[in-house]
């Protein structure tokens, strides 16, 4: 954090790259303010020349609860993923679980199964467990995208925790759980935040599980809410894009906050000689 030798040109270049990368996002904003009659104009307006706010009106009238649901989903998914993956990473990396090699491979294989296959399988399971149209059920389904990856991340990180620290604690009489809680977890702030980020984002943008498993719920996530604007033969594009814009704002805020902490802890942490 001390290299301020060349700040400005880097900032400028950074801004340029970000602008390029986010141009499609700007375009999304542009479309959200465009009237239906101008949507397919050739050549297209780079700025919304005759803006309409009907898309946003529709969103604020109809989509806010869905936004809340998506947030709940994201947070729930994060919690569940951490609950399952962190202890598992600990077991594999530091407790030297027997069979960890095959387990790691299984986790890789788990990520290879296409989403559609998973969704159809879940439908069958959920019908029997009566978990259809429940938020909890959807949280579990969304977490299946994040858990294998999270375990991989935790295992990788926890393998790097020096043995001396955990062994020292064990010698002092601390149990396995104590070591986990008081030494490993605090040191794992970095992967915890990274995993939370991934889990949140994956749950936030999921559509296939929500569509198959949660259609009739009282609470539907924003991705399903978008389909509200896709009728049988007609589609309200400005409303769809407006939904996406509004949905992006809280998530973007969370992202920027989390990013500061994802890598900040490494040099400040204990992984140093």
């Amino acid at each position: 954090m001390t290299t301020t030798r060349r700040p400005w040109w880097k900032t400028g270049l950074g801004l340029l790259f970000t602008a390029l990368m986010l141009f499609p996002v700007y375009w999304m904003l542009n479309v959200s303010l465009t009237q239906t009659g101008d949507l397919r104009r050739d050549p297209p307006h780079v700025f919304p020349v005759a803006p309409t706010f009907e898309g946003y009106e529709a969103v604020f009238r109809q989509q806010l609860p869905n936004l809340g649901t998506s947030l709940l989903l994201g947070l729930g998914c994060v919690a569940l993923t951490l609950l399952i993956a962190a202890p598992a990473g600990y077991a594999i990396a530091l407790l030297r679980l027997r069979g960890r090699g095959p387990l790691n491979f299984l986790l890789l294989v788990a990520q290879m199964i296409p989403g559609v296959v998973m969704a159809m399988g879940f439908y069958a399971i959920y019908v029997r467990l009566d978990l259809l149209n429940t938020l909890g059920g959807l949280i579990v389904a969304d977490s299946t995208v994040a858990v294998p990856f999270a375990v991989l991340l935790f295992t990788a990180f926890m393998s790097g925790i020096p043995r001396e620290m955990t062994e020292a604690a064990r010698i002092d009489g601390a149990g396995v759980w104590r070591v986990f809680r008081s030494i490993v977890l605090p040191m794992s702030r970095n992967p915890i935040l990274t995993v939370s980020l991934f889990a949140f984002l994956w749950a936030w943008s999921d559509f296939i599980f929500a569509s198959t498993l949660n259609r009739n719920g009282d609470l539907i996530p924003i991705t399903l809410g978008i389909y509200h604007y896709i009728g049988n033969n007609t589609t309200q594009w400005n409303a769809i894009m407006a939904t996406a814009v509004v949905a992006s704002i809280p998530a973007a805020v969370l992202l920027v906050v989390a990013q500061r902490y994802v890598a900040a802890g490494v040099t400040a942490g204990a992984v140093k000689d």
């Binding site: 296959v117 973007a252 990013q259």
Partner: protein, 326 residues
């Protein structure tokens, strides 16, 4: 120097236990080891149960779908005929298969290369922090939180041959109309471009974390020795990043293989299969026509899993080989 390299080696690669500390304790009492194993099992139990219920079952169903003849009636009534590998044979000899394989190869390989390269370049760019770097890095993740239907639709709007902004911009430079999505020879490249855009955030985050694991002293020492930025990258950054790169590429491969939404929204695999990959083909068989064909869809899905499995095995082999190195 050895401590750094071993620590780095272990931090980046999953499945490795890290080097054993010099004072290997072979005298750990057996009781202690066994109780640790039980504890390990207890910690891993939620994961194991989770894997069994939520992955094993859908996988089993998919295999079941692909070895029976599930026409629509059999799907509902549950009395499908067992046909062994017939469905696979039909799939492999169908006219669409070679096209799908070719498109999948292009889509996956090109996406991977560019996503990785761009992610790496950006990660290196952001490595040394500067004003606004944290905010900008966060903003790079915004594409990720958009629902896929939105990002894919935005790209198809931008790439529209007749009224898209990309063509308007190109026309300003005197380039004629390019039919990004409707030209059979261009369609697969257009969806690949959109997919690269979607994959950059993931690569950026992981590679950036990997870079952060390389202590700054190494670079300072190298500068003192007179190495310039390019040399530093090739001699220090890239080799030390190898385990992280390997896992990034592997995961990227697995994820890109599964991609359906982007292509479906942009071109539905058209025109006439020009942008149909194996995943899109599988999806179309199951959901894209009026007559769902679940068995071929499941068969193609299984082929996809097998391909990913093969690459996974290659990865594990490479891992083992690296582990054997001092």
């Amino acid at each position: 120097m050895t401590t750094i390299s071993t620590r780095l080696g272990s931090a980046g690669s999953p499945g490795r236990d890290g080097s054993t500390p010099p004072e290997v304790r072979r005298t750990a009492p057996l009781r202690r080891v066994r109780s640790t194993q039980w504890a390990a099992l207890a910690f891993a139990l939620p994961l194991l149960a989770y894997l069994l219920v939520f992955y094993a079952f859908p996988l089993y169903r998919n295999i079941d779908l692909s070895v029976h003849d599930y026409n629509v009636r059999a799907f509902v009534q549950g009395n499908a005929e067992f046909v062994g590998l017939d469905v696979f044979r039909d799939v492999l000899t169908s006219a669409t298969f070679p096209t799908a394989v070719r498109n999948t190869l292009i889509f996956v390989l090109v996406s991977l290369v560019f996503q990785y390269a761009t992610g790496l370049a950006l990660a290196v760019f952001f490595r040394t922090s500067f004003r606004l770097s944290a905010v900008l890095r966060g903003m790079f993740l915004v594409p990720w939180l958009l629902p896929l239907i939105v990002s894919a639709s935005t790209w198809s709007w931008m790439l529209n041959g007749d009224n898209g902004i990309v063509n308007s911009a190109l026309q300003a430079f005197g380039i004629g109309q390019i039919n990004w999505l409707t030209d059979p020879s261009l369609a697969i490249w257009s969806v690949t471009i959109a997919n690269i855009w979607l994959g950059i955030p993931f690569n950026l985050v992981i590679l950036y974390s990997g870079l952060q694991n390389i202590p700054g002293d190494v670079y300072e020492a190298a500068s003192l020795d007179g190495a310039n930025a390019w040399q530093q990258f090739w001699r220090i950054t890239f080799p030390l990043l190898r385990p992280v790169s390997a896992i990034t590429l592997l995961l990227g491969f697995v994820y890109t293989l599964k991609v359906v939404d982007v292509i479906w929204v942009m071109t539905t695999g058209g025109p006439a299969n020009a942008s149909t990959t194996l995943a899109v083909w599988s999806y179309r068989e199951a959901f894209g026509t009026g007559q769902p064909d679940f068995s071929p869809a499941a068969a193609v899905g299984n082929i996809l899993i097998l391909v990913a499995l093969a690459i996974g095995l290659v990865y594990v082999q490479l891992q083992r080989r690296q582990e054997k190195q001092p």
